[in-house]
């Protein structure tokens, strides 16, 4: 980039869309500095001899005629130690630093490095001078947080011989750590690298996911599971629980790294995360969950162009940790706001709109987002496996799933957690509909669950059948009343209600219920299903239904989600015994009389 400076001037201003004249070397994706106040923008279109840029900051106060400087570099992320436990805006400005430098409001002319320049890290070299290295090779490590050992990797595109590498000691982000020589050229490298957000980071090989991402939400883990490396959409109207699900995943899912992208949503939701996470303990590592988390907050009132970028910023960070061999979950709330940002920019460019006013390239862009999920062998030595699981919230207008973003998203995801406003209205949370949701991962995950205990695969099928039967029967009840159904059918209705109210429902804010370990989920459902089959036997002996409904065990089953702690799953043995005892007692009582 040893070009002379490339400068032009502002020709037109339409919200975030800036027309520029006079640039000579512009490429699509180049970052530009707009106006005297040097607002950051990105070139998105070039026609005749003018360029169009979207500006990542507010443009009120900008004059036409002001200068525009082309940096000729694409928007890139700084990747290195210091990402975790941090919060950025959509273009990776560190929000705590912005606050420290400029106060509580984000205005123009504010800049803040992504990675702390002053902080020092203890670097441990892992390879010796003289080693031949290729992209992705781990040449050393830094303990970034208590949980995460940060791998320092040879940047993409760099080959050669390691000529120098520093001794174990403290280094700052900008110190030279190692040098690599290739032919006559010797390059210096530090603890961090850069990567353009719109490019996929290359990897060696993709593999099919077979391990579940354990979420601690029963309805997900048991009925609609997602694999590590999978893609899920969570569509739902306002207030149906998308954000609570995303927060729950960020808190309890068994990923190594969480990248949470608040894309065009509420500022208070980010404040909520920032206040809660440092005090929450990850059940898998016993360390604060914040230590594995990177937050990207581009709230609804922040500029739309930066909102559009924020999703790709998040993905780039996710890919970087995946390349170290970690399981990353990228949680995007909400992809609809991102699509709307695309729509707004496209509208201002006067592009031909397709369905719903969205640009015709909506589906390619959505694909370019979901495609970056997956389970892979990253490049470099030693061989390792890392994954990105993407969970995208979708906010369909009026909760109507036939709108373009939801419809298009469906084509790219393999699991679909459809939120049902009716369930949400009666405060049945998570309001994941058992009729409209699906997961194509389940069959590949069965093996994993079978190692844990018996019956995951069968329980899923049984639950689905009971729920489906009950939904059918409800229609008949509407005609004849419950009392007039055959007793086996009344039992199905009763058990279905039980499953909904004491199993599928889960209170995200209850200290016990909020995370249900796989063991607890499995034991509880097995108990309920066992209760069902034993009750079926009871009623077939012409013992009235109310007898099984009124058994003491029913109350205990009902309370189990709130009263039995994950570490006390052994208590289910006791409940199982009690169930058997009460049923036998009941049968004896009737048969002896």
């Amino acid at each position: 980039m040893s070009r002379q400076s490339d400068q032009g001037f502002i020709l037109s201003i339409d919200g975030p869309v800036i027309g520029i004249k006079g640039l000579k070397y512009q490429k699509i994706g180049d970052l530009v500095k707009i106006g005297h106040s040097k607002l950051t923008g990105e070139i998105i279109k070039i026609t005749d001899n003018r360029s169009i840029a979207t500006c990542y900051e507010y443009t009120e106060g900008l004059h036409v005629g002001e200068p525009v400087l082309n940096t000729t570099e694409p928007l890139s992320m700084e990747l290195g130690p210091g990402l975790l436990n941090n919060i950025y805006d959509g273009i990776q400005r560190t929000l705590p630093l912005l606050r420290e430098k400029y106060g509580d409001f984000i205005g123009i002319e504010q800049e803040a490095y992504a990675l702390d320049r002053k902080k020092s890290w203890i670097f441990e070299p892992k390879v010796k001078e003289g080693t031949k290295v290729t992209p992705g090779d781990i040449i050393g490590t830094v303990q970034e947080t208590n949980t995460i050992n940060h791998k320092i990797m040879v940047p993409m595109g760099v080959y050669g011989t390691l000529t120098t590498i520093v001794r174990p000691s403290k280094y700052s982000i900008e110190d030279t750590i190692y040098t690599i020589k290739n032919g006559k050229i010797e390059q210096k490298f530090g603890l961090f690298q850069k990567w353009p957000i719109r490019n996929i980071r290359p990897y060696r090989q993709r593999i099919y996911p077979t391990e579940p991402l354990i979420t601690g939400m029963r309805v997900i883990d048991v009925l609609f599971p997602v694999a590590k490396g999978g893609v899920v959409a969570v569509p739902g109207g306002f207030g149906t629980g998308k954000t609570v699900i995303q927060h729950n995943l960020a808190k309890w899912a068994d990923a190594d790294i969480i990248v949470y992208v608040g894309c065009g949503e509420r500022g208070n939701e980010m404040a909520d995360v920032l206040e809660q996470f440092p005090n929450l303990i990850d059940p898998h590592t016993n360390l604060p969950v914040m230590e594995r988390t990177v937050l990207i907050a581009n709230t609804s009132n922040m500029p739309v162009s930066a909102r559009e970028a924020s999703i790709f910023s998040g993905l780039t960070i996710a890919e970087y940790y995946r390349d170290m061999g970690y399981d990353v979950a990228l949680l995007a709330d909400s992809t609809t706001r991102w699509a709307e940002a695309l729509r707004e920019i496209s509208g201002r460019l006067e592009e031909m709109p397709a369905e719903g006013g969205y640009p015709a390239y909506l589906s390619t862009r959505l694909a370019s987002f979901y495609e970056r999920a997956g389970l892979v062998h990253p490049l470099g030595f030693p061989d390792r496996v890392g994954s990105i699981t993407v969970v995208g919230a979708v906010s369909p207008p009026s909760g109507d799933f036939s709108e373009p973003v939801t419809k298009t998203t469906r084509r790219f995801v393999k699991a679909f957690w459809a939120l049902d406003a009716k369930l949400a209205y009666s405060r049945h949370y998570p309001s994941i509909s058992w009729t409209d949701s699906y997961s194509l991962y389940s069959e590949h995950l069965e093996e994993w669950w079978n190692k844990l205990g018996k019956g995951w695969g069968k329980s899923r099928i049984d639950i689905s059948e009971i729920l489906a039967r009950s939904d059918e029967l409800q229609n008949i009840v509407q005609l004849v009343g419950k009392e007039n159904l055959p007793v086996e059918q009344q039992l199905i209705l009763f058990v279905a209600e039980l499953i909904k109210n004491v199993y599928l429902i889960q209170n995200a804010f209850d200290p016990i219920d909020r995370y249900s370990s796989p063991q607890k989920s499995l034991k509880l459902i097995n108990l309920i299903l066992d209760y069902y089959s034993r009750s079926l036997d009871v009623v077939s002996r012409e013992i009235p239904l109310f007898e099984v409904e009124n058994l003491g065990i029913v109350t205990e089953i009902s309370r189990a989600r709130l009263s039995i702690k994950n570490k006390d799953v052994d208590q289910f043995e006791g409940l199982q015994k009690k169930l058997e005892r009460e049923i036998t007692g009941l049968i004896e009582r009737y048969e002896s009389s």
């Binding site: 109207g237 500022g267 009026s398 005609l479």
Partner: protein
């Protein structure tokens, strides 16, 4: 140097198109002299290669292309703010309204001058709102708790009792503290509604703490886009510079959105749903997100926007987009209104997202969120059973169904229903909830954890009689 033009190229709707020769600024204020010599104000909306698009706040009626003069001010829209604004009323451009007794007011001495668009609060600077505002209204305090720093709109229909409810909230919300300010923003409302609020504020003795901004139905449409921004800029000064608790009532956001639509269509933009612009979500967010609390500062901005749902349709883009931005919603129901339930709040579709941190032990009472969830669940069931009953008749209901049905009736009658001057503290509200829930057999109470249930559930059968005897 100020540059004056008198060669307008075109006029459409509220917009003037001007061929410019100098470096126009985005958002620049333009002073306009119409052919009759009367001054108007406009603002630069868009600058294309040679043409500048200017919105005229007072509308374009009477403007022509050759005698109208436009002078560029080289400034963006700003508002002067002062403590003396308390107890006074301002127009859609933030100027003191000329009232009959206007001369009795002193001139305002501006303490600060601020651009009205505001800048986003750094998400890292926000402090999560947790202080409950006790409104004394059972449905709100019990089920959709209002919190300081929250944005909680009222979704209503034409002719429902939203004004009364908003006035009752202001009256009862313990607003008489020193540091409490009400900012009232009337957007395209009827003069009558404006007067209704003024009277209620005066009756409750709050008038000296109220700052009103009024754009009534006959005032210029474009000002409706400015007025909430002006008001919020003032609110931010009182909240974040002067450490006061500011409650902003904005009515009616539907009029605001219609003004936005008018402007967008005049600009020839591609419309999204129902003709509203595709950026309406972001635009509304730029208002609603100005609510909140900031770390290390005492004050807060709480917003209660009022939205009339066209045809009572909650899926209409205005309530729909609002619901996606605000922290919950209070939805009024025509059906309840007709049955004379006041406040006619449809609890199932209403929600307060900030409730979870605002209630519970040490704040209201430990059982609060669980009993609330249980009330929702039972009430939802009771409505389903009511529907069933209308098809298959009461005889075919199970005895449990009948109990729940009864619960639903008493819930509406004793819990939801309340008088305009009736104030219930939160403990009374919660106790009432337990009275009602205890009419349903204990083993059917599934949303409440065993300890809480054992502690609060009223086993005594007499309680049921007590309640029915009310």
């Amino acid at each position: 140097m100020k540059i004056t033009y008198s060669n307008i190229q075109g006029i459409e709707g509220p917009l003037v198109f001007l061929r410019h020769q100098h470096n126009v600024m985005n958002g620049e204020i333009v002073h306009i002299i119409d052919p009759n010599g009367i001054a108007r104000t406009g603002r630069v909306l868009e600058i294309s290669e040679n043409v500048t698009v200017i919105e005229v706040f007072q509308g374009t009626a009477g403007l022509d292309t050759d005698r109208t003069q436009l002078t560029f001010s080289d400034e963006v829209f700003q508002i002067s703010i002062s403590r003396d604004m308390l107890g006074r009323t301002f127009d859609g451009q933030g100027r003191p309204k000329i009232l009959k007794n206007a001369d009795s007011f002193p001139e305002l001495l501006p303490e600060v001058v601020r651009p009205i668009c505001g800048t986003p609060i750094n998400p890292y600077s926000r402090s999560y709102p947790t202080d409950v505002i006790h409104t004394g209204i059972s449905v709100i305090d019990g089920l959709t708790t209002l919190v300081r720093g929250q944005k909680l709109p009222i979704f209503t229909g034409q002719g429902l009792s939203h004004n009364k409810l908003a006035a009752q909230i202001v009256k009862q919300a313990k607003v008489r503290e020193e540091n409490f300010v009400v900012v009232f923003v009337g957007i395209g409302i009827l003069q009558d509604d404006a007067m209704y609020f003024e009277q209620r504020f005066k009756e409750s003795g709050n008038w000296q703490n109220v700052i009103s901004f009024l754009n009534i139905a006959s005032d210029p449409t474009i000002e409706r886009i400015l007025i909430p921004r002006i008001a919020l800029t003032v609110a931010e000064y009182f909240a974040f510079d002067l450490d006061m608790h500011v409650l902003v009532i904005m009515t009616d956001i539907t009029n605001y959105c219609e003004a936005l639509r008018e402007l967008s269509s005049a600009k020839g933009e591609i419309p999204s749903r129902k003709g509203f612009p595709g950026y309406m979500y972001s635009d509304l967010a730029s208002l609603y997100e100005r609510a909140g609390k900031i770390k290390g500062r005492e004050g807060s901005i709480t917003q209660i926007p009022i939205i009339t749902m066209p045809n009572d349709d909650i899926t209409h883009p205005i309530p729909d987009l609002t619901g996606f931005i605000t922290e919950g919603q209070i939805v009024l129901s025509r059906e309840l209104y007709k049955r004379n339930v006041y406040p006619p709040i449809d609890i199932l579709s209403s929600l307060s997202r900030l409730m979870k941190e605002g209630v519970g032990e040490g704040k209201t009472r430990e059982d609060h969120s669980e009993i609330a969830s249980q009330l929702y669940s039972l009430y939802a069931q009771s409505l389903e059973i009511k529907e069933l009953e209308s098809i298959i008749g009461e005889e075919s209901l199970t005895s449990l169904d009948k109990r729940i049905l009864n619960f639903g009736k008493s819930f509406e009658q004793y819990f939801m229903n309340q008088k305009f001057d009736e104030e219930r503290d939160v403990i009374t509200t919660l106790d009432l909830a337990w009275d009602l829930v205890s009419t349903v057999p204990k083993r059917n109470i599934l949303r409440i954890s065993p300890e809480i249930l054992d502690k609060y559930y009223i086993e005594d059968a007499r309680i049921k009689e007590k309640l029915w005897g009310r």
